[in-house]
Symmetry: C2
Subunit: 293 residues, 2 copies
């Protein structure tokens, strides 16, 4: 879908538009509190919630009480952690191909690709959206934990279909598709709305608590069009260290860095210096709906 979001929103055609998006809300108390603080006092202006996770309820209450903040559903089919486990919101007997022998989600997209049946993927992802709606959430978008919806073309079609069914924009980007090995050429369809640039850090930038100014550099070098930075703010506290034990990639240290950078008022100045305009998924949704009319 060719939509010049910038003009629709009243900005010049070549504006640098940016969503600063916190993934993984609902994962843990640490993730919730950091996300809420980064929304209220920091630079984060959109987030998405993992419905199957233990701390979903706390975040859902926040979302209901704070509808001014853009929130999506972070569709979840994987649980990458060693000791902290969760599984489908659907009864296990209805989605057996999505879980390991203990009834938990698989750790890796590759397992999903190998074992999971599309009909069960559809059932579970729809159940997650329905559970969120049942809680009274008013989601602004759909996206996907570990971009697992890109594990297979079939799954990606289901993802697109959910967006259409619920009239919600879905996060699609060539970078993310490439990241998970889904060929953009054969899987992008006419009518898909694509985020032009999606930024997710790589572990090498954050190893040993060292920050190589990755985010500063992203902001300074942003180009025109619709951009999104995907972060995972949380605290490097005992809970988060317990969850991410033996999994330093997207571990608690990195998450603390995400929180620190995007809570630091000084970094707001970079946005101003580089004429970056913050937009939300609700803005995108509005533009897309206007285009359809």
């Amino acid at each position: 879908m060719k939509v010049n979001i910038a003009q629709k929103l009243g900005f010049p055609e070549n504006s640098k538009l940016l969503i600063i998006h916190a993934d993984d809300a609902g994962l843990s108390h640490s993730e919730n509190i950091a996300t809420i603080q980064a929304l209220k006092n920091g630079l984060v202006n959109s987030y998405s919630i993992m419905v199957p996770c233990p701390w979903f309820y706390e975040m859902a209450v926040f979302a209901k009480n704070n509808p001014q903040f853009d929130h999506g559903i972070h569709l979840t089919m994987t649980c990458e952690w060693e000791n902290y486990k969760f599984g489908p919101v659907s009864p296990l007997s209805e989605v057996p191909s999505l879980v390991d022998k203990n009834g938990h989600f698989f750790k890796k997209r590759e397992q999903l690709m190998k074992y999971s049946v599309p009909a069960e993927v559809e059932k579970e992802l729809e159940a997650q959206v329905e559970k969120a709606l049942g809680f009274g959430l008013t989601p602004s978008h759909l996206d996907s934990h570990m971009y697992s919806v890109g594990a297979k073309p079939d799954f990606f079609d289901i993802y697109r279909g959910l967006g259409a069914k619920y009239n919600l924009p879905v996060l699609m980007s060539e970078q993310l598709m490439n990241m998970v090995g889904l060929d953009p050429k054969s899987n992008i369809q006419e009518g898909d709305f694509l985020i032009e640039n999606a930024f997710v850090g790589e572990f090498k930038y954050f190893e040993n608590g060292r920050l190589t100014n990755y985010y500063g550099s992203v902001l300074e070098n942003l180009t025109s069009g619709v951009n999104i930075i995907l972060i995972h703010p949380a605290f490097d506290d005992q809970e988060m260290r317990g969850i991410t034990v033996n999994h330093p990639n997207f571990g608690s240290e990195w998450r603390q860095i995400d929180f620190d950078f995007f809570s630091d008022q000084k970094n707001k100045i970079i946005l101003e210096q580089h004429n970056i305009e913050l937009i939300t998924w609700k803005d995108i949704s509005k533009c897309m709906n206007e285009c359809r009319q």
Copy 2:
């Protein structure tokens, strides 16, 4: 069942026997780590695991790798927390009378008493034991979160029946029955094994982080027979404060006090000074089985 456990275990008939028991393992990472530390380095010598809770898996791995520690199943039918929610291990469609509209356990025993059907209670509690066994746990006993099995005579019979079915001792005590309003006279049957004295703190002893030497006094005044002290060790950290928000009774401050008292090596001396002998549920189980033969 009249068993003189002391003599069976080789102690004088009037010995003061004591289990120092940590409830609520599996509830959270904080609870797990505190329980493990209090077992390894402190005075705690038995614990029980909440199978439906988010951190069950971590504790189950510990239990499997550390069979030297007595561990039971903390049968769970209530979730008393404001923002942290969990529900049955059974499919919701099979135990609808155990949950609120969101599929979570009720907060209070009174709701359980009002809404829950015995057949579903039995199904769910058995499913919790089966899940634990399926994980390879070798439980030493059954007990009950918030002693909810005492909400109704029917439930108490189910509880007794589970002990018989799995050949495990179940925690029965007149104090606990009185605590939850179950008449001991009409609900204790011939053949039931009763703990002579069960000690659970009351909030008034722990309010405002103040410790009125409740536990010291329990130890100093212990009488002969089989005694159990039920504690809930955890840290007063961000995770636990999040779980126990607006619920200072059994809140994070009290749990930290439990951890501190029963991790303090100095308090081991009280046991020696007062000739208190630590025993476990496995000891009780062995005695009961010998009596049956």
